[in-house]
Symmetry: C2
Subunit: 339 residues, 2 copies
């Protein structure tokens, strides 16, 4: 018999129906694309030498080649940095101009690498860049929320192979984030504690769902994981906003993320996935109740009409099984030395 679990942070219920399950060995066989991909692709706007095919450059980190990574405008931006933030209310109709930011971070000159196979030093450099771009966006008074995210593979919403991440900064607080902040405040009111800190403490006591532990971060499968291998990485130190991360923590987050992405790559056969960094709305200062984190969702199952109609998810793999499976994936030696 299945059971339901409620996520204390989001209040979302999920149905854990592990009898129905797609187990790792049921995963659709997927050709490992790296064997077929060139290190350079003449038509790729993210490859070195093709910079003119991409939109304006915003920043670059120097490297051994032409550059180590590059930040550019999204060529098809959902939000643009120019213009005023104008809110209009006309009866029940509410609109806002599309000011904000929509940036692309090209993670490496090589076309055939993936975030999961980046050398550790490049992943550190990527997270440093995330912080830098977050800080830039944070300064803009028109911005209320910043989301850093990654789409890997077609099921995750991208067809561009060249490894890249994105940053989107919105002139409103997304409703979902507002709801989570309200829940966090309510938990703090009831207990005097950050619900994320409490969750981390309990998970470290239980240990059943813990997968990756480094000095400053803990990676685990959430108790009420929405889908197989749904994953959270929490900073151990209480911080509301991602840009409060210090240099040591950046390097440590890179180690943690490097390990979990490598485990998913090996164990789940290079799955399509999204990750994103969830952080406090930018117009408020540090708070005692909200705690940023990184969430990873391998796109192994699909959401369907039940999720559409209820917002609830059915997870066919128990979180404990997901965690045990990922813990059991052994990584080759020298994994961090290069691609």
């Amino acid at each position: 018999m299945s059971h339901l679990r409620q996520n204390i942070i989001t209040r979302d219920w999920v149905i854990i129906a592990s009898d129905r399950g797609a187990r790792p060995y049921d995963l659709p066989p997927k050709p490992r694309p790296e064997q077929a991909i060139n290190t350079y692709e003449p038509s790729c706007p993210f490859c070195p030498g093709n910079e003119a095919m991409a939109a304006d450059e915003l920043a670059r980190t120097p490297g051994q080649g032409p550059w180590r990574l590059r930040v550019i405008q999204n060529k098809y931006p959902a939000l643009v940095p120019e213009g005023d933030r104008v809110r209009r209310v006309d009866g029940i109709y509410r609109t806002m101009t599309g000011v904000g930011r929509h940036e692309v971070i090209v993670e490496h000159p090589r076309h055939d690498l993936m975030t999961a196979t980046l050398p550790l030093a490049d992943l550190e450099s990527l997270i440093m860049t995330y912080r830098g771009r977050y800080l830039e966006a944070h300064k803009d008074p028109r911005i209320e929320s910043v989301v850093i995210f990654k789409n890997h593979g077609e099921r995750a919403g991208t067809s561009l192979l060249h490894p890249h991440s994105q940053l989107a900064a919105t002139p409103v607080v997304p409703n979902q984030i507002r709801i989570r902040v309200e829940e966090a405040i309510r938990y703090f009111d009831d207990t005097g504690e950050c619900v994320f800190c409490r969750t981390l403490r309990e998970e470290l006591k239980d240990r059943e769902r813990i997968v990756t532990e480094t000095d400053h971060f803990v990676g685990f499968v959430p108790y009420a994981a929405l889908s197989p291998y749904h994953f959270w990485i929490f900073p151990r130190r209480h911080m509301s906003s991602f840009d409060a991360i210090n240099d040591t923590e950046v390097r440590d987050l890179a180690r943690n993320l490097h390990e979990v992405l490598a485990k998913m790559y090996q164990g789940l056969n290079n799955p399509d996935y999204n990750y994103s960094i969830r952080s406090m709305p930018t117009r408020s200062g540090p708070t005692d109740y909200f705690h940023w984190y990184l969430t990873i969702v391998p796109r192994i199952t699909r959401t369907a009409g039940f999720e559409l109609g209820s917002g609830m998810f059915i997870n066919s793999t128990s979180p404990e099984e997901s965690a045990a499976f990922l813990r059991g994936v052994s990584l080759p030696e020298q994994d961090s030395s290069g691609a």
Copy 2:
């Protein structure tokens, strides 16, 4: 420049970025499967004669063949009707036994039909069955919410071709539904009116997003549609719960749904889609503030890391364009006479 819109009912913001857009003519060409599908498939558990391959039958509607439609248990149920509803709270961990219902409604004996190509009389019969199953689930005191939904095509979460719908009844109120009820109460407190009734009134005045109008239902693209051709069908009469629908309204809803599904089928090249019926939690009686409706989401674009990290959507087609496009799809004569 894009703009943002807020949905007054859900409070969700969406980015309308119609410059980026996939227009209908960009849709991936998809072989019309009906040409390749047999009317009967020996391995299909939903085809007549193969009933023993499916789980237990719960109801059947007689027809010219062996049956007109059949309701069966889901063979891989997320929730089961046997057992007690037991809630356990252990610190931050909250669980509930997986009692409830998970039923499959086989919509027609013919394997090669689709909901979009069902004869109108069969669609009426299907919606009558929805109401009957909803009422059955509603009687069960362990049930708090009932969702009726449909997955069409692989992107929408099904690989079974034989036309079928599902009903899931949960022993909790999904958080998303609770949040919407709270928003509806707040709107009612502020204005003394149902926010759904108000929306319908404004949409009928505007007319820009209206697509299908029948005696008792109105089909339109929501002002803050989450994705291209996202569609709502509202009953004109205020009703909180789907099972308050009367016979005349069932037949009228069938006409409305028949028309919009046919338009999507023709105009969008048989898209994968989900629909679901959103209704009031079952433990409360009728209310002045909540209004059931049917929502359809063609799965043309994919959600990605931005949606994961913010809960906000980017819609590449403006709702007015979506509506105009669907209005412009002309349907063949005799469309309602049969497949």
